[in-house]
Amino acid sequence: MSEILKCEEITKKFGGLTALNKVSFNVDRGEIFGIIGPNGSGKTTLLNVITGLLKPEEGRILLDSKDITNLKPHERVKLGIARMFQGMRVFPYLPVYLNVELVARAVYGDVRLARAKTSWALTMSGLLPEAGELPTKLTPYKLRMLEFARILVSNPKVALLDEPFAGLTSGEAETMIDLVKKFNSLGITFVVVEHKLRYLMKIANRVMVLNQGVKIAEGKPEDVVRNPQVIEVYLGVS
Amino acid sequence: MDVDIYKYILLFSIFHSSTYLMFSIGFSMLFGVAKIPNLAYGSLYIFSSYIMYTLIRYLALEPVVAALIAVLAAGSMGLLIGETVVKPALKMPVTIFITTLAVAYIFEEFFRIEMGLRPITLPLYPGVTYVLGVPVSNHWFLVLTASLLMFSLLTVFLKYTVIGRSIRAVAESWDESRRLGINPLKVLRVTFFMSGIYAGATGVLLTPLKALTPTAGWGPLFTAFAIVALGGVGSVSGTLIASFIYGFLEQTMTYVLGSGIASISPLILIILVLVFRPQGIMGRAE
């Protein structure tokens, strides 16, 4: 199967509100799949459902043909789903290396392997000098790199990125794009939720558009952007 | 014969519930805004009572005047406690447990040293009325009226005044209210004062019925805590419902099981409710 992630008819309700309405999509192995949509369209909710923090009312999630719909979040991490949260979320009072090492320890049984992988991930993201520091001392770019390191270290099958370009300068964003491309070429599939279309278009193979919990378009970035429904939905939103 | 028991249960359930309501709403309001219980609440209860007692006994003031002064004193003391002991500790809310508890101990010790352990009492509203054949001190009616009045005033205040709405906003979210231009610390101050007034009023109204000792603050505190937990932190209507559930349950259990278990049966109920619905009856889920 070339699909590494498959979401079937995901429906999530909060009280009377339907945040996600029968959302279905597939992500092919090795691709970079973008999810876009205006604020409140359900993008982050969808990521929460995929990672297991929320339980959908209906729907199934399959990772590499394995049904993970009923698995707890930490179990999904061990099976190969890694996630970067929106808004630079790390453990604020644990040193940088520990932020990464905790992931490694959970994924790899062996302590020495975990430590080795942690060093590698920190080197890859350029954080080795700051390894003993607290995240509060890092610049926004380095914080993003820390989140990236947490994803890398677990060698995931699928990495979910929630607005990775937020808060970065255009130079930093280009570096991020390079990193994503590099690790994509090494075999990691990416699902990127992003608001800044400019950067997403540069890296995504395919893109899905959500609006108010419903998928309204899917396909190549160039095509989706010209879709009249999509344009209407984004009108007035910068 | 059985009909009599029901009369008693009904009547005194209503009366007791109204006392619980009285000392819970002040506590509830403050808990809702500060997000942390004020364990010195019971202290304000005994504080106003002792002040009123001293004013009547040593300055021969009219009870009503003494009561007003005592209640205002409690409000001010509440404000003082808020400023000195709660506000600086807001950085680490857990510590407020300890600081307010320490204040409660200070009050208890102080009154123990100054006033001794002998119970004191305050003047009762005179007269007795027969309800359904049961003699009831008129003071209970005063308490019932005061309780419903305090509750209604608070509800109106919270719904229709600017300050009241600010209090509700801050209770909902400190961040959101800041964005709306409200200063949560100012609101906290007002809430402390009001909570003190309510605690003080409760003390002054209930002491005539239940003699006062320095340790008398804990009972109301625990009950208020349990009731607010049941009704939902920050929900005034929740406090109303919970007070009556508590009162009725306790009274009924007293007649069925005897006073021992009866006093904790509401607590067991509350634990059961909280396990399945931690935010209480009317509370907001996190």
Partner: protein
């Protein structure tokens, strides 16, 4: 990686204060410190276990388990019940009471482990209150001793009776003291190990961002349960030992003001999440309280409470650990010259 191996000299220097204090405490009875203060220290040693329990669990995960006084007192009641109704000698009752207390604490608080924040604290606080109500209420008070408490045979009493009469009391006092000291030392060392192990870091991760911890691959439920087991084991051991040395067992052991607040204060003032801070605070605060009796008498409660308030208000995050670190830095600086 990025850690520098500490030199042997550094290691010895850093352990010296601990060893010195330990030696002093161990030698106290031999230096002539007598009855009253030995009892006080015995109590303070056992309270250290409770302080560490709070620090290790609530201090890391920020799940405020205020039902600790229930666990403490329940261990005592379990001990007494085993001794009185099942005629099990106190020494064995003591050992049995610990797992019984841990089990009940787990069962009672388990449903609330999924509840966050303030609500968990509220719920846990109600547990000891309800327990007190049950024990002192009519049907149960007959079996559980009610207000007066349940009388049982004190620890080592049988053995003490076989000794000459003038040695009996001293024997009991000394044996209690050394047991409590051993428990305190072991508890401290284990807490240190746990606090800075991977498990300890996982607890902290949960406290800092539980959702993120789940997303980090940490099985938060398992970690919380194990953490709670460790914490209540500490408290159960302390409670069982404490009760065994002071019959009768009464509800005073369950009153939060007696067995929750002092250790909680020590943990907070000492610095939640550190091990040294709460330990120092535990001894400092509790011994100061005792010392005040001699100097201030009647006003000691008020003065002490004011002192506590001041300490907390000055620095809610905990004063003692910070002072400790500053002193250590200065000491290291001095020793280098």
């Amino acid at each position: 990686m990025v850690f520098v191996k500490r030199s042997a000299r550094d290691l010895i220097i850093s352990k010296t204060p601990f060893l010195a204090v330990l030696a002093a405490l161990a030698l106290l009875p031999l230096l002539g410190v007598g009855g009253y203060w030995l009892d006080v220290l015995t109590r303070v040693n056992l309270f250290l276990l409770v302080t560490l329990a709070i620090d290790l669990y609530s201090g890391t995960t920020y799940y405020l388990n205020l039902g600790i006084s229930f666990t403490f007192g329940f261990a005592g009641y379990a001990l007494a019940l085993l001794n009185v109704y099942y005629s099990i000698p106190t020494e064995y009752s003591l050992l049995l009471a610990i797992p019984i207390s841990v089990f009940f604490s787990l069962v009672i608080l388990l449903p609330s482990l999924k509840i966050r924040g303030v609500y968990f604290a509220i719920l846990s606080l109600l547990v000891p209150i309800v327990y007190i109500g049950i024990v002192t209420a009519q049907p149960f008070s007959l079996y559980l001793g009610g207000e007066g408490g349940l009388r049982f045979k004190q620890l080592f009493l049988d053995f003490a009776r076989s000794l000459p009469s003038d040695v009996r009391l001293v024997f009991l006092q000394y044996s209690y003291y050394y047991i409590s000291l051993a428990a305190a030392v072991i508890g401290y060392l284990v807490a240190y190990k746990i606090g800075f192990s991977e498990f300890g870091f996982m607890l902290r991760a949960i406290g800092q961002d539980e959702e993120l911890a789940e997303g980090t691959g940490i099985n938060t439920l398992k970690v919380k349960i194990i953490g709670y087991l460790i914490s209540s084991s500490y408290v159960s051991i302390a409670g069982a030992l404490y009760a065994s040395m002071r019959p009768p067992v009464t509800v005073d052991l369950v009153v939060p003001a007696n067995t929750l607040i002092p250790p909680l204060t020590s943990a907070i003032v000492g610095g939640l999440g550190t091990v040294v801070g709460p330990t120092i605070a535990n001894y400092l605060l509790l011994l100061t309280y005792e010392l005040m009796w001699g100097f201030i008498g009647r006003w000691r409660v008020i003065v002490y409470m004011l002192l506590l308030i001041t300490i907390i208000v000055i620095r809610p995050q905990g004063l003692i650990f910070k002072i400790y670190l500053d002193l250590k830095k200065r000491l290291r600086g001095v020793l280098r010259e």
